[in-house]
Amino acid sequence: MLIEILQQTINGLAIGGVYVLIALGLTTVFGILGIAHFAHGSVSMFGGYLTFFLVTSQGLPVLVAIPIALVVGFLLGLLIEIIAYRPVRDANHINAFIVALGLTMMVEGINLQMFGHEQVVIPTGLSRVFRLGGVTVPELRIYVIIAAIVLVAAMMLFVERTKTGQAIRAVAENRDAAILMGVNVKSIPLIVFGISTSLGVAAGIMVGALFAIAPGIGEGFVVKGFAVLILGGLGSFPGAILGGTVLGITESIAAGFISSAYKDVIAFVVMILVLLIRPQGLLGRSP
């Protein structure tokens, strides 16, 4: 039994890492700009598709393709902010909401046109399996977990320890006060979208390597990302990390010990239960 619990926990950690990255991207945009960026899942999948293309069609090693995809992701984030969200920044929230929905359909369509309708798996060549006692861990999952930890740590360091990070937090706390303190608030949304999209692309690459990328997959991940956001506490970075990990492990344990048929339902039931006790989420601030 103990081995099974450990195995399910490790199974859940890898997918939890993906949820964390998706949720961090979403929480950055939502917490700072107040935009529910629904296209985040589709953009993430674009990153996965791009990596697949670079590896399989261009013959690049996966370790070269990944940084390229992350940089392209960052630039794509800038583009999204400038073209899609900047024109409606000062308009009613419903405008940004509609833009987000339209953008989702647009990015999905672009993915379909550029990369086709077929499911793709990013070839990594990592097929070793490690055995510790009765627990088995595929090499790829170890790298995914490590990569997620590194990215999350880098993100936290950036936000907590750099001037730009401080400026982002200042805008998130109080935009008007940030302006008065001399923060260049025009550049903040750009940076936020760039970082958020890069994180999403990293998640897309992980999904593509661990599982597969296919049209429509991004929607499921963005729903889970928002669930994590709510579970962890809106706008909270530590909350997104904890929420994503909890959701990944809960799904895995629920599928293993209750029923795989209700995997998603059980995860969302846990989310609702947490919110009944802590309406602000696990690490969210009380209003």
Binding site: I15, S127, T136, P138, G256, F257
Partner: protein, 404 residues
């Protein structure tokens, strides 16, 4: 006066000639395809749509369909039903109502096909079902519906006998068991296992969108089964095979998927697939294929730059069935006559699948065709046909006739 009569006669003759020429002129017969061209079902649906187009090109190149003095060239319109019942209903309604199509082919997936089957009986159209394996599609006695693929439990019975013979006592099942025909396949397997004292010890479910099966496999691993049986779409099954190896499960793996090597290798490696059994209708396999099958494989690969999926000839065969029936009935307009002619057909010489005739006909009274079933094993990067599984089409047809 004479001149006027002569001119009139000449004009009438010219008109008559023109009319005759127009009548004998080449006509167009539009065939509809409703199939999953995107999404999870596309691994079956897209190759089916391709197969119909290829058959149409071949028929057109060979002169078309001959009905009396007319020759019909085939035009194919394909709509994506995304393997979704609502989309399939919309696609077929569009084909019938807007495009005026009377013959609809394709139909890879059971949910979407069942939705269309529920109303097609009231339409002036003929529906030819391909890969969709849900049994109830041909139990409703719909006169204008036939299916080229045998129902899943026809294959499940043969698969169960095969697994039972292998001597494994405790089998764990993992699959898309919320899909009716997969559950029917497993039920048939279980009946055969029970006959020799074997049992199914777990039924774990995944949905068609799932890609991470490790929670279910971890649970199965803890039960220590002698073998696993995987029933589901190719992609989901490929993940199960891959993740079972990643979890260190070194036990026989049986499956019911009908995927090509190419489709599996998009998800898993050949090493991870080594030894896997696929217990399915014989379908297209180069080691067991007829001359038609070998030619089909070569032509399809050349035309689409990809190997055909094993189940894709179900749709290819549909068009040759339709051609034969239209030519036999001598009409393209009277769909009832064409539907009747389909059921009276012997197996056309051009078909790829190896059908088992019932009373000398390709389709039984239920509109159901049967192919042989086979055991295929993954060996060194490809599916190898190992043996034919004993299957009694006649007996199954009698059983099918008793169902509603």
């Amino acid at each position: 006066m004479f001149n006027r009569v002569k001119t009139g006669a000449l004009a009438a003759l010219a008109m008559a000639l023109a009319t005759t020429s127009a009548c004998a002129a080449e006509k167009k017969l539009t065939i509809g395809v409703a199939d999953a061209l995107t999404g999870g079902g596309a691994v079956y649906g897209l190759p089916q749509a391709n197969a119909v187009r290829m058959a149409a090109d071949e028929i057109n190149a060979a002169g078309g369909i001959k009905v009396g003095s007319d020759t019909y060239k085939i035009d194919v319109i394909a709509y994506d039903d995304k393997a979704n019942p609502t989309e399939a209903t919309n696609a077929v309604r569009k084909l019938i109502d807007r495009d005026g199509v009377k013959y609809i082919l394709g139909f890879c997936c059971s949910g979407s096909t069942s939705a269309v089957a529920s109303f097609i009986g009231n339409e002036n159209a003929v529906m030819l079902v391909g890969n969709a394996a849900e049994r109830s599609i041909t139990t409703k006695k719909i006169p204008n519906l036939v299916r080229t693929r045998p129902p899943a439990d026809f294959t499940g019975q043969a698969a169960g006998t095969f697994i039972a013979r292998k001597g494994q006592k405790r089998i764990a099942v993992i699959g898309a068991l919320d899909v009716g025909f997969y559950a029917q396949y497993v039920d048939s397997v279980e009946r055969e296992l029970k006959k020799v004292g074997s049992e199914i010890i777990a039924r774990e479910v995944f949905t068609l969108r799932d890609r991470d099966m490790t929670p279910q496999l971890t649970k199965i691993r803890a039960l220590n089964p002698d073998a696993i049986l995987v029933v589901g779409y190719v992609e989901s099954a490929a993940f199960v095979y891959r993740q079972a190896v990643e979890l260190g499960m070194v036990i026989p793996r049986y499956g019911f998927t009908s995927g090509s090597e190419e489709q599996f290798l998009r998800v898993t490696t050949s090493e991870q697939m080594e030894g896997v059994w696929d217990l399915r209708p014989t379908e297209l396999d180069l080691l067991s294929a007829s001359k038609n099958g070998i030619a089909y494989h070569a032509n399809y690969s050349k035309k689409y730059n990809a190997s055909p999926s094993p189940s894709s000839p179900y749709a290819y065969d549909q068009l040759y069935v339709l051609k034969a029936a239209i030519e036999a009935s001598g009409t393209v307009d009277d769909t009832a006559a064409v539907a009747k002619a389909i059921r009276a057909l012997a197996i056309p010489s051009q078909v790829v699948m190896q059908y088992q005739p019932v009373d000398g006909k390709m389709f039984d009274v239920n509109g159901q065709a049967y192919t042989a079933n086979g055991a295929f094993q993954w060996q060194k990067g490809k599916w190898v046909f190992v043996e034919e599984l004993p299957s009694d089409a006649k007996a199954y047809s009698v059983f099918l006739s008793t169902l509603n």
